[in-house]
Symmetry: C2
Subunit: 328 residues, 2 copies
């Protein structure tokens, strides 16, 4: 089978590509070709695999070439991030909405009805001025996105649902939680500090937390997020239970609990590197995100949230060690 | 003030135009110009009013010209209907999604932030395979559209909400119920028979009902629908209570109750012109539409459903008499 990953040079895209290459199969079918599409070239270890081919450039410009391919599964992760979309409205519409539609139309033109996993986001949820968020968010909770990024993701969910209903693709809308701990540098997302307050101290660097210790957030580790994408891709349509988006499982923790876990794993000195500088704007945004999710549909698909935040901190430390041994 | 109506040659568009011209003002401001845009020319009585100007042609092609205008209020009613969108997917995407976006971008380019009333539809609701409809539909019920028309309307609601949040327009999403009694010929919508079983017998013609007498539906008269559009356009943002769509009030009646009203107004002979020929496909579609709505938000805006179906039948007969006296 041939698998396409868009956004394959990104953190999650490259991780998914490595996972699929190691796994060798999807839904029991051998992966013969893995096509990685991104604005940038993916990491060297991926390029070295003979099953990998690369499409570099804007997705919009590649749709004609993609329409000439045959894909059995597509993981569509490419997107401009929330801060970019908020700063440049037209960029977000082009990168997130128009590109997704061009990709869907390319697949429709090719006529091979692949499984299509759309990486949507918990960012579809936000408190509309007239509609407070329910205490527990379910798959059937009405999203009222409060950012252009969230609106674009929610619109693409609708497209994926209708292209699926029409039989153009076999689409699955998958809402990713805030993924923690992201490696590397802050990417400018408002949620960035949730990785930063763990990543920087573990690396001996200071970090600033803009919200109070009591703030509750819904998180998932990179490994659980990839598991979720794979599980939804392998589920039957009956098991999925409809075309509405699946919220991936989330671990609900307070920022204080995150720092307790940091201390338990990396010591009191690491924790002491985190200082609090309240930022009302970020606190308001983060406070508007849902923190508690009903997990019943995801659990029926065999998915579970991370067991605790300590395991998430350990996953980051282990990943970092594995990466530095690969590099050396 | 200048007001734009798109879809102004249609049944509701022309009725709204007449209503605004008679009223002479909106939100207490005198209407100096009424711009009517449609594929076709609007009726002659509208063209005769000195305040009226006409843009004829596809909305997409007119966006540059519209961007050069200054509008204080826009009623965006233009759309391809549900049956067209289901038969020709690309036509629906172009007529309903791309045209709306082109109009929004034209207004944004003009920079005058008009009130923008988007005529969405009860067709955003439908039973997703995995998600049965709740017995009472509220404004915060998650729409899971089961038609391309419904998907396109729901996507446009998202655009209107985000263009509003960004300050490009002052948008209001208004979900119209099934409007009954439509004059003229059947327009190919699956809901067409709901007008037909009243309109044809009143005019001495036979009509076929494809669903059972027990089938419940949610309806609104043309007059109440226009009242709803006006009321939402005049509401303050605070009164609106957020950017999510407002479901206009609906009268819930069974088909049997509709026919009882027909008989009460037009006699037993009129009712005897309606025969039943079950059509499982239409019965399934209509059965999937919500029949009962929570009206609390619409009521806070001063809106009420039609009091009963007898008044809806009378409204049709009165309108028909008024129109024939205008023509003669």
């Amino acid at each position: 089978m041939n698998v396409l990953i868009t956004g394959a040079a990104g953190f999650l895209g490259a991780r998914l590509a490595r996972h699929l290459l190691r796994r060798g199969q999807l839904s029991g079918e051998r992966i013969d070709g893995l096509i990685l599409a991104d604005l940038y070239a993916p990491p060297a270890d991926l390029l070295a695999d003979p099953r990998v081919r690369v499409f570099t450039g804007a997705l919009m410009a590649q749709s004609a070439a993609l329409a000439a391919e045959r894909f059995d599964a597509v993981f569509h992760l490419a997107a401009a991030v929330s801060a970019e979309c908020e700063a440049d409205f037209d960029l977000g519409m082009r990168s997130n909405l128009d590109s997704t539609r061009a990709l869907l139309d390319a697949l429709r033109a090719a006529g091979n009805v692949p499984r299509f996993m759309f990486a949507s986001s918990v960012a579809v949820f936000g408190p509309d001025p007239g509609l407070p968020m329910p205490p527990v968010v379910r798959d059937e909770t009405l999203p009222t996105p409060q950012s252009s990024y969230g609106i674009q993701k929610f619109i693409c969910e609708q497209l994926v649902a209708d292209y699926t209903r029409k039989g153009f693709i076999d689409g699955r809308n998958i809402r990713l939680m805030t993924v923690v701990v992201r490696p590397g540098r802050p990417n400018g997302a408002a949620s960035g500090f949730l990785s930063g307050i763990i990543r920087e101290p573990v690396n001996g660097l200071p970090a600033v937390c803009p919200v109070s210790q009591e703030t509750k957030v819904a998180l998932a580790s990179p490994a659980r997020t990839i598991e979720g994408l794979i599980a939804v891709s392998e589920a039957s349509r009956e098991a999925l239970g409809g075309r509405t988006a699946v919220n991936l499982p989330a671990l609900t923790v307070s920022v204080g609990e995150m720092l307790n876990a940091l201390e338990a794993v990396a010591g009191a000195k690491a924790r002491s590197l985190v200082s609090f500088e309240p930022d009302p704007k970020i606190a308001r945004m983060v406070g508007g995100w849902p923190a508690v999710f009903d997990l019943s549909r995801a659990e029926r698909l065999g998915l579970k949230p991370d067991p605790d935040f300590i395991s998430i901190v350990r996953q980051y430390i282990d990943d970092r060690a594995a990466e530095s041994s690969t590099r050396s």
